[in-house]
Amino acid sequence: METLLQIEDLEVDVEDRKILAGFNLTINKGENAAIMGPNGAGKSTLAAILAGKDNYQSIKGSIRYLGKDLLKMSVEERAAKGLFLAFQYPVEIPGVSMSNFIRIALNAQKKFRGEKEVNAVEFLELARAKAKELKMNEDFFQRSVNVGFSGGEKKRAEVFQMSMLNPVLSILDETDSGLDVDALKVVSEGIKNFQTKDRSSLVITHYKKLLDYLEPDTIHILSKGKIIKTGDKSLAQLLEQKGYSGIIEAA
């Protein structure tokens, strides 16, 4: 199998504290992986680093994405090369409409890749189809990005952006948090529909529920900055029974 993302010996410091240390993870093309872990294990830091956040004291180790050094790529280059982060806390941007934002983003990526940009009509057609899949009302196209969105709407909007931007590797940072049962189902279906053999995903979550829907190929347990256990989807079941503390002790 072809490797998409390879993280070796990653170490990240924030305010003199090691958030990640001795962290290793490989994701292959077409693989759907999940990372679970207790609060403070370093899950969101990992997601932010992969997307290119750089306000960390130091980042050591190696991250290779599509065979290239990811840490040398700018944030927008990563996006253009198909890396997408669904934010745990999507950011509000007053004055920029959702549809305008995604169209500008899509065309910025296409331009970077030297592809033909989409026009307004083509874009709207695509957006309408995707919105329907996610059971989203079209009036949200004209609303400012995430402004006044409910928790569920924000998460749905992240998944909508993902499906519009069509990434190679989607990192979903606690996309299930703050969702009620119905919203979780819609969002999970949205993610599941998006999974194909050409695309990979890394789902970060606390809970088993989302993984029941998504049925990931691999599950990794993160604790104190490193992966302590890796398994298939049955690992989530074990976690449900023993709790994080049970698994951490056993490891």
């Binding site: 997307a51 290119g52 956040k53 306000n55 700018s74 944030v75 927008e76 990563r78 996006a79 253009a80 997408f84 982060l85 934010f87 999507p90 950011v91 509000e92 941007i93 007053p94 004055g95 920029v96 934002f101 995604i102 500008i104 983003a105 899509l106 910025a108 990526q109 970077f112 400012s144 952006q161 931007l165």
Partner: protein
């Protein structure tokens, strides 16, 4: 101090020697107002930084120089640079060095009188009696009960020395579709001032749109001071849009003041756009005198280089059920400096008032500086007032979010800048949009 005395002496001498040549010299009420204004100016002088409303920006060029009244001129090259009239522009009036140069209009409009102040004072002064306000009438009423006329020093200077202006009088029930454009040009060769006094008066149920542009003076080697004051009177159910646009070179000082009085259910929309490389100050003093009147005062400022810009508002709620909205957005580059001083005063008895004020500044350089002072003085019981002021740079969380979707840092900044301005631009009526877009192109936002 000695310098200041000798400057004041020069203003005195100029006033004395021009006394018999000022427009309106033979009209008793006009001459009296001028005389009174000059006395006020002599007493208060040019406002200095010890005056609260003038304490943020140092107008050292204004204080350290005597500005002669700019001379009459006919500058063909300057006029050639002007573009043709916009298709929505009904009447265009061009001023050179503070005097009307020409009126361009394809036809005459029924129920509207429009001409220079000089023309009115020479031919029909009775139309203007009571329309020019006393310079002291907008003095600050301090909470200490003191009445302070010092902030009005520049208005007094205008009232003492005005040479011309524009007068727009609409009869009852006149509705103009399209706008009137007033353009001020200057080309002084030495430190000179163009005091322009304008009067805009709308009859009952009338409406019109006016754009007033102060353009950069053509000579960027000498000081130029434009001092515009407009008295605006809006009768019952009338509606005025008054858009001010200001741009200047490094040695230009543009000070533009309006005094507006609104009667029953009158509506006033007053946006201003400043792109200054010198010093500029825009004052909007609005009295909501009678019930159900409403005012919207917006401002968009782009500061560059060493420019200073100021926006001052005074919205007085006097009648019941009145509403006012103020929205200001400022973008500051390089060493530019801006100050916003907004005040809402709700007088006793002005119940059910609704007043909002918002001012946001975006600093694009470490050396840029924004000051904001929002004030509410509420003397009535049942009112709804809001105010919000922010000063900041690009939000790093927003930047990261946008870039993570594929936009470069520059593209993300442009997106955020446009979003920042949008609230002001969106409110403009379509007929004025092209003028504003042209302005924004020049400022290169």
């Amino acid at each position: 101090m000695k310098n200041l005395d000798s400057i004041m002496q020069k203003y005195s001498d100029t006033f004395a020697s021009n006394k018999n040549e000022f427009i309106g010299k033979d009209i008793v009420w006009a001459a009296k107002l001028r005389e009174k204004a000059f006395e006020q100016f002599l007493h208060d002088g040019i406002p200095q930084q010890d005056v609260e409303e003038w304490n943020k920006v140092n107008y050292k060029n204004l204080l350290n120089n005597f500005f002669s009244i700019s001379s009459k001129t006919d500058d063909k090259n300057l006029l050639k640079k002007l573009k043709a009239k916009d298709k929505n522009c009904l009447i265009r009036i061009i001023f050179l060095n503070g005097r009307m140069h020409k009126i361009e209009s394809k036809k005459t409009f029924k129920g509207i009188k429009i001409n220079s102040l000089k023309y009115f004072l020479e031919n029909c002064p009775e139309d203007l009696e009571g329309q020019i306000s006393d310079s002291s009438s907008f003095s600050e009423h301090r909470l200490s009960k003191k009445i302070d006329s010092r902030p009005q020093g520049i208005v007094a200077l205008n009232a003492a020395f005005y040479q011309d202006g524009i007068v727009v009088l609409l009869e009852d029930n006149v509705k103009l579709s399209g706008f009137i454009e007033i353009i001020h040009l200057g080309n002084s060769n030495n430190a000179s001032m163009s005091p322009v006094r304008s009067i805009i008066s709308l009859g009952k149920n009338s409406s019109c749109q006016i754009i007033e542009k102060n353009l950069s003076s053509s000579n960027d080697k000498s000081l130029y001071f434009s001092n515009n004051v407009a008295d605006i009177n809006l009768s019952d159910f009338s509606s005025l849009t008054f858009l001010r646009m200001i741009e200047g070179n490094e040695l230009d000082i543009h000070i533009n003041t309006i005094h507006a009085n609104l009667k029953n259910s009158a509506n006033f929309y007053c946006p201003s756009f400043i792109s200054s490389c010198g010093q500029s100050r825009v004052e909007s003093r609005v009295n909501l005198e009678e019930k159900d009147s409403s005012a919207t005062i917006n401002g968009l400022t782009i500061g560059k280089n060493n420019s200073t810009s100021e926006s001052l508002t005074r919205v007085n709620h006097i009648g019941k059920y009145c509403s006012s909205n103020q929205t200001f957005r400022t973008i500051l580059n390089e060493n530019s400096q801006d100050s916003f001083q907004g005040k809402i005063r709700v007088e006793k008895g002005a119940d059910q008032s609704n007043a909002n004020m918002s001012s946001k500044s975006l600093l694009l350089s470490e050396n840029a500086q924004a000051n904001a002072k929002p004030e509410l003085e509420i003397l009535a019981d049942e009112v709804k007032c809001t105010h919000g002021v922010t000063v900041g740079s690009f939000n790093p969380e927003q930047m990261f979010y946008i870039c993570s979707r594929g936009l470069s840092e520059i593209e993300a900044k442009n997106l955020l800048t446009n979003a920042f301005l949008k609230v002001i631009i969106e409110e403009l009526p379509a007929s004025l949009a092209s003028s504003v877009n042209e302005f924004l192109e020049i400022t290169d936002v």
